[in-house]
């Protein structure tokens, strides 16, 4: 294996954390800024080795506050920028995740979730940052989060994350978990020219054009073109509420206009962003919704239940955010109940409840061990019996 190449085309037997790193490499990540934290450290270690060899910048920052700030700075200077962390570090990043949303700075954060709250279970699995991911920073804003169920998806989702971030000018998260981060499986890396790449929308105006308003979204997608440092536009990026020119405008009307656009550019385009996998849902009377490592156990439980003649299907989330609310509404007309297993005490199950009046039965564990198939299977059988 040559470490000198950006894209290690071929089949590999890769750790999930390393697959995240290779996804970043393949996506053309220019700058990584992070702070070592279990169980995400192997991503940083791999990039520390890989990035300098191709002339990209690897930074071990003093903390996650700095890491996230550096991501926004790098992004607005034109770089594809990423960090990797786990719950405690993710919490520290929240402040500047808000800044990334406000300045519309595309960037990617991988969160290898561990047991929480607080220092919690550093080396053991958790899925309890799902709501922090969506609502962690202050204010209304929208993000996109992917949830890989395998090292292959760690690789694939990081690439998707960069493209989604650049397409919509938002921070995008890859919400893996310790189990996926620390498991090793085959990862197939395609040839470099087959790695999908979405370029950022760039201004049509030349530098110095006084009619250019760099925070004005002229297109239907509500995404303004991005200008990078040093290109001669000499514009202001502000964490304060700002007007279309980028100037501070701390008044109710411009605030509503800006925040509504930041939210709507995602909410109105969820169909283009959202991804999920449907397994045995066609004739299902019962739907399991699962993501990350838990989706693997859910798949086994569903297979076992099918063998027992239970008509159960699996909606496996690829994007946890945006949540497939329309799919849940649609399934609500078909199934009798939802079963939502997750390694937390009920996060996405509550989100499911928002879009259905049917029973939503959580299968929960606070963390430290992967959700086993048995409790999911038992719940499926129980619910099927009563339904």
């Amino acid at each position: 294996m040559s470490d000198q190449e950006r894209v290690l085309t071929g089949s590999h037997f890769l750790l999930g954390d390393h697959a995240c790193a290779e996804g970043a490499m393949a996506a053309g990540c220019d700058l990584f800024a992070g702070y070592p934290i279990t169980p995400s450290t192997e991503t940083a270690e791999r990039l520390a080795l890989r990035m300098p060899a191709v002339g990209a910048i690897f930074l071990q920052m003093e903390d996650e506050l700095a890491s996230m700030s550096a991501l926004v700075g790098a992004s607005l200077a034109g770089a594809r920028a990423m960090s990797a962390t786990s719950g405690p570090g993710f919490a520290l990043m929240m402040e500047n995740i808000g800044m990334a949303a406000m300045m519309e700075a595309p960037c990617v954060v991988v969160n290898i979730q561990r047991g929480a709250p607080s220092t919690g279970l550093p080396t053991l699995v958790g899925q309890s940052d799902m709501m922090q991911c969506k609502w962690g920073s202050h204010g209304d804003y929208e993000i996109v989060a992917y949830s890989p169920s395998s090292p292959q998806e760690c690789f694939d989702h990081v690439i998707k994350a960069f493209n989604t971030a650049d397409r919509w000018r938002i921070p995008v998260f890859v919400m893996a978990d310790e189990l996926i981060g620390h498991m090793t499986e085959r990862v197939v890396i395609p040839p470099a020219d087959q790695i999908p790449r979405v370029e950022r929308k760039r201004p049509r105006h030349k530098p110095g054009d006084p009619s250019f308003l760099h925070c004005l979204a002229e297109d239907e997608d509500l995404v303004p073109p991005i200008v990078h440092a040093g290109e001669g536009y000499r514009v202001n990026f502000d964490s304060l509420t700002h007007d279309e020119k980028g100037y501070p405008a701390t008044f109710p009307d411009p605030h509503d206009r800006l925040v509504r656009r930041l939210v709507n550019k995602i909410r109105l385009h969820t169909d283009q962003i959202m991804e999920y996998e449907e397994i045995f849902l066609d004739d299902a009377e019962l739907a399991v919704i699962a993501y990350g490592s838990t989706a693997r156990s859910a798949r086994r439980a569903v297979n076992e239940a099918r063998k027992d003649g239970i008509r159960v299907g699996l909606l496996r989330l690829i994007t946890v955010w945006p949540f497939p609310e329309n799919k849940v509404r649609e399934l609500s007309k078909q199934v009798k109940a939802f079963v939502v297993p997750e390694v937390n005490l009920g996060q996405m199950s509550r989100e499911t409840e928002r879009f259905t009046s049917l029973p939503v039965i959580g299968v929960n564990h606070a963390g430290g061990v992967m959700m086993a198939p048995d409790p999911i299977f038992d719940t499926i059988r129980e619910v099927a019996k009563n339904a």
Partner: protein, 179 residues
């Protein structure tokens, strides 16, 4: 068909590498599916360390092992800890100098992997000797795949030694069968 393999030793014995070579051989060179997970204590050396590998012809959903079908024990404590959870009629492989099976133990196979490694000049390759032994004794990974995994995992200057270690373990298994 799914095969759950647990390779257990103490930290520093290279159990993770052993698991990685088995999984990589299966996933990349034998055309099968394989998953490797690991667990270890907080100490870097000396604590219990095991690598769990699943090899299957079909994609693997649940990646954890609760009851191994194949159990490789590299020292006594690992044997005593995990032997009880091995499935009935599971296949047991031991480091025969370091593990003394219980009197009621059924059939098993052993190799003095550390001593074999020492004879090759480096006790550190005992893990790879065991991988070779595993390949020879179980046939779950082919010798060719094991060798490929070694070539594509280890640093070039270590490849020859490790290939020797693998082959020593593999041949030991084959001779054992013949005798």
């Amino acid at each position: 068909m799914r095969h759950d393999i647990r390779v257990a030793g103490f930290g520093g014995q290279g159990m993770l590498l052993a698991g990685l070579l088995i999984g990589k051989a299966a996933a990349l060179y034998d055309g099968k599916e394989a998953v490797l997970t690991q667990s270890y204590g907080p100490e870097a050396r000396g604590g219990a360390s095991n690598a769990d590998v699943i090899i299957d012809d079909d994609p693997i959903d649940y990646p954890l092992i609760t009851r191994p079908d194949y159990f490789v024990a590299m020292f006594q404590e690992a044997y005593e800890r995990y032997r009880p959870v091995m499935v009935k009629d599971g296949i047991l492989l031991i480091e025969s100098d370091l593990v003394k099976p219980w009197p009621d133990e059924g059939p098993y196979r052993g190799i003095p992997a550390t001593r074999v490694a020492e004879e090759l000049g480096r006790r550190i390759v005992a893990n790879v000797v065991m991988v070779g032994f595993f390949s020879g004794a179980t046939g779950l990974i082919s010798a060719h795949a094991g060798e490929q995994a070694i070539r594509n995992t280890l640093r070039p200057r270590l490849v020859d030694l490790n290939l020797k270690a693998f082959n020593a373990g593999y041949e030991y298994a084959k001779k054992q069968e013949a005798s």
